[in-house]
């Protein structure tokens, strides 16, 4: 049976190819999630006022979840990132799509320079971008804030509710260029015949955008949206770095910040595990929900 050996090898091949990834995936995704779920239903009990009598771990069921969900600060932090996402996602997508269309328009000159300029901030890590913008937000240090106050406009970019939008600005600055690049790349794949057809039909530039370009951007826009949603829920570095210069960022400003503080400042690992599980669940439900919505509505596209 001459073909037997190759076939055996062929049957073994996918296993060999998938195994390393799968093993690491289990180690860094499945196992941590399982472990977080396990940790989240346990808690530590201490004996004596300072625990000098020892401590032991006990099963508390959903106790940590009800603690997390009855913690106003944590619940508010979820509301805050949802609000953030509700504004950030459309702004980001609209800005990127707008810039991509401008770059792609017949009137644009110096396209390469602009593309590079927009894309540059993507190479700046979030924490460094936040340190940088932090300097540009602090009154007395920032040339922007001081310049505006000379013009009689006094804004507190770090106070009250403004700081959330100051963070949104940092995130937009970091990632808009990347999204522009994706969208421009996609626009470039539009075959010339489509434009030709549009021209023959007498379509204006605007109608070409509306009826030819935008629909073709759809898959890239969906991808951008899903990643923005997931990224938004993870918001951590930006508020953490801005916290010392703003009096409006509290210890539970975002769900991630809250979990980090519970784990490493307050030593409530089990509560933190519950918060991490809730965060993962929220991200999963939201992005899954969005995809379902899109697939249902766009089923005929």
């Amino acid at each position: 049976m001459p073909t037997r050996a190759p076939r055996r090898r062929r049957n073994l091949a996918p296993v060999v190819f998938v195994a390393p990834f799968l093993l690491l995936f289990l180690l860094t995704f499945a196992l941590p999630i399982g472990y977080a779920v396990y940790q989240s239903v346990m808690d530590v009990e201490h004996t004596g006022a300072l625990g000098l009598g020892g401590s032991h771990t006990v099963f508390v069921g959903l106790g940590n979840y009800s603690d997390a969900l009855s913690d106003h600060a944590f619940v508010r932090s979820i509301g805050r990132v949802l609000l953030f996402a509700a504004v950030q996602v459309p702004v980001m997508v609209a800005l990127s799509a707008g810039l991509a269309l401008l770059l792609d328009s017949a009137s644009a000159r110096g396209v390469r320079f602009f593309r590079a300029a927009f894309f540059l901030p993507y190479g700046v890590p979030g924490v460094i971008a936040s340190i940088l913008w932090g300097f540009l937000y602090v009154p007395g240090v920032s040339p922007l804030v001081d310049g505006m106050s000379h013009l009689g406009v006094s804004v507190d970019l770090l106070g009250g509710n403004n700081v959330l939008w100051s963070i949104a600005n940092i995130v937009t600055w970091e990632f808009a260029g990347y999204n522009v690049l994706v969208l421009v790349a996609q626009l470039r794949t539009i075959p010339a015949e489509l434009y030709e057809a549009a021209r023959i039909d007498g379509a204006s530039a605007w109608m070409t955008v509306r009826h030819v370009k935008l629909p073709l951007l759809r898959p890239a826009l969906i991808l951008t949206t899903v990643f923005t949603i997931i990224g938004t829920l993870q918001l951590f570095a930006e508020p953490l770095v801005l916290k010392p210069v703003s009096s409006s960022i509290d210890s539970a400003y975002t769900p991630n910040l809250s979990a980090y503080n519970e784990a490493f400042t307050n030593d409530n690992y089990h509560l933190a595990a519950a918060e991490a599980v809730l965060l993962a669940l929220a991200a999963f439900v939201l992005s899954f929900g969005f995809l379902r919505l899109i697939n249902k509505r766009g089923g005929d596209a």
């Binding site: 076939r7 055996r8 049957n11 073994l12 996918p14 296993v15 998938v18 195994a19 799968l22 093993l23 289990l26 180690l27 499945a30 196992l31 808690d43 530590v44 009990e45 201490h46 004996t47 004596g48 006022a49 300072l50 625990g51 000098l52 009598g53 401590s55 603690d67 600060a73 932090g134 300097f135 602090v138 009154p139 007395g140 240090v141 106070g159 009250g160 509710n161 916290k243 010392p244 210069v245 703003s246 009096s247 409006s248 960022i249 509290d250 210890s251 539970a252 980090y260 503080n261 490493f264 400042t265 307050n266 030593d267 409530n268 690992y269 509560l271």
Partner: protein
């Protein structure tokens, strides 16, 4: 093609993966049991020992160098970490959890109970630490003693006073306020004299500062009775302090920017912030971050709630502790004692600006005991020497103090955003602190 073979193969692969995963889990289970902390013996003379030490105190590098030069057998490797509340403690807790903690670490007084609760500190009484008691100021020594055992060697405290811009005060005809009432009046006068100038900021994100003010006003937030904690944050004394700052805030005669931040340094430098109620170690902060204001500062005693009294408080204060898992505890203890009592070491730390010495004879004749040109030739540390004797020594800390600070910060910040007041923030923090302690499985009662 046969369909059974691949299925069996993939099942096999799955089994292998699961086996690997469960191996990891069981490995985890195996390593959690902590070893019995048998008392370690000192190493034989001549044997070399390496110690790791985590600290953020300025000047400590020089002291460590000095130690290494004079103690060839016990080498201390200093690793600079961020200041405790800006991430240093998070690092220590993480390291304790991962079994990678250094031998020694900087631990502030208010954090000692929380590290105890995490089972992170070594009982130094087993190693004869009690014999050093007489070398330290008594109240600072007591900060490291729990259940009659020593868990930390005191290093420095933060007796408080009032730093102020003597040039500006003079220009506007204002005397340094002796009482809080005068402080409020001065706040108004300063802001009237120059609309860009303020007497001070209220750092909403730095409740440790507010805590010190409450301490001065006579509050006693925490106590322990047997194995039950008492929490009394919302005492009349604390509420008085909160209402005082609420009042200044509503009159808009103070700033509300964060301290220890770019904008605040800029304001110190430019004269937009003209005073700072702070601990002795604030001198290095001012001189380091506002170097152009040299010669323009002076120090007065902390404003009083009762005219003629002389009550100060403590802000900060730090110890050297030996962490669980240390490989050479007797040697680590030896270093901790030397670091905080040896005159050369204490003087190097003082020059770095580490605070007020815990060593009983630390101040007299040290580099603190001199006039300073930055402070206009004033022998300003005399003010703090006096303050150090006027601190209520019975103040106690709870193991969840960080969470309490966070609640206060969050409440104060909310007040600045127009939600509630500083007073309501204090009330809220009382409730939340009780909850925090209960969460840890500790017994709590409120008030007395």
């Amino acid at each position: 093609m046969s369909r059974t073979t691949p299925r069996r193969r993939s099942r096999g692969a799955l089994a292998v993966t699961l086996a690997a995963a469960s191996l990891l889990i069981s490995a985890c289970g195996g390593s959690t049991g902590s070893k019995d902390p048998a008392v370690q013996k000192p190493v034989k003379p001549g044997q070399k020992v390496d110690l790791r030490f985590w600290s953020w105190v300025p000047g400590v590098d020089k002291a460590v160098d000095k130690w290494n030069a004079t103690h060839p057998d016990i080498h201390v490797k200093l690793e600079k970490i961020p200041a405790g509340s800006s991430g240093g403690y998070a690092k220590m807790r993480a390291a304790l959890k991962s079994g990678n903690a250094p031998d020694l670490a900087q631990v502030e007084y208010q954090e000692i109970p929380s590290f105890l609760l995490e089972n992170g500190l070594v009982n130094l009484s087993q190693y004869g630490a009690d014999k050093d008691r007489s070398k330290f100021v008594d109240w600072q020594w007591q900060q490291g003693v729990f259940d009659k055992a020593v868990y930390a060697i005191p290093q420095a405290s933060g007796p408080m006073g009032l730093f102020y811009r003597s040039d500006l005060y003079k220009k506007w005809g204002i005397k340094p306020p002796a009482t809080w009432e005068e402080f409020a009046q001065a706040a108004q006068k300063i802001h009237d004299a120059d609309p860009k100038a303020y007497i001070s900021t209220f750092p909403a994100g730095n409740s440790a500062w507010f805590t010190a003010l409450a301490w001065q006003a006579g509050a006693k937030w925490f106590g322990v009775n047997g194995d039950t904690w008492t929490v009394n944050i919302n005492s009349p004394q604390t509420l008085k302090v909160a209402a005082f700052w609420d009042d200044l805030r509503s009159k808009k005669v103070i700033k509300t920017e964060p301290d220890f931040a770019n904008g605040w340094y800029k304001d110190l430098q430019s004269g937009a912030i003209t005073s700072w109620v702070s601990a002795q170690w604030g001198d290095a902060i001012i001189s380091g971050n506002a170097p152009q204001t040299a010669g323009k500062w002076a120090v007065a005693p902390m404003p009083q709630w009762t005219r003629g009294s002389n009550v100060s408080a403590n802000w900060g204060g730090s110890s050297t502790a030996v962490l669980k898992g240390a490989g050479h505890i007797p040697e680590a203890l030896k270093f901790a004692e030397w670091l905080n009592t040896d005159p050369t070491s204490v003087d190097l730390l003082l020059q770095g600006g580490y605070g007020w010495p815990a060593a009983a004879d630390g101040y007299k004749g040290s580099s603190l005991d001199k006039p300073s040109s930055f402070f206009g030739g004033q022998k300003y540390n005399e003010v703090f020497a006096e303050a150090d004797k006027s601190i209520d020594n019975s103040w106690k800390w709870i193991p969840t103090i960080d969470a309490t600070y966070q609640h206060l910060n969050d409440g104060f910040q909310a007040a600045l955003a127009g939600k509630g007041t500083f007073v309501s923030a204090v009330q809220q923090a009382q409730k939340q602190t009780v909850e925090d302690l209960k969460r840890k499985g500790l017994k709590v009662s409120t008030g007395q």
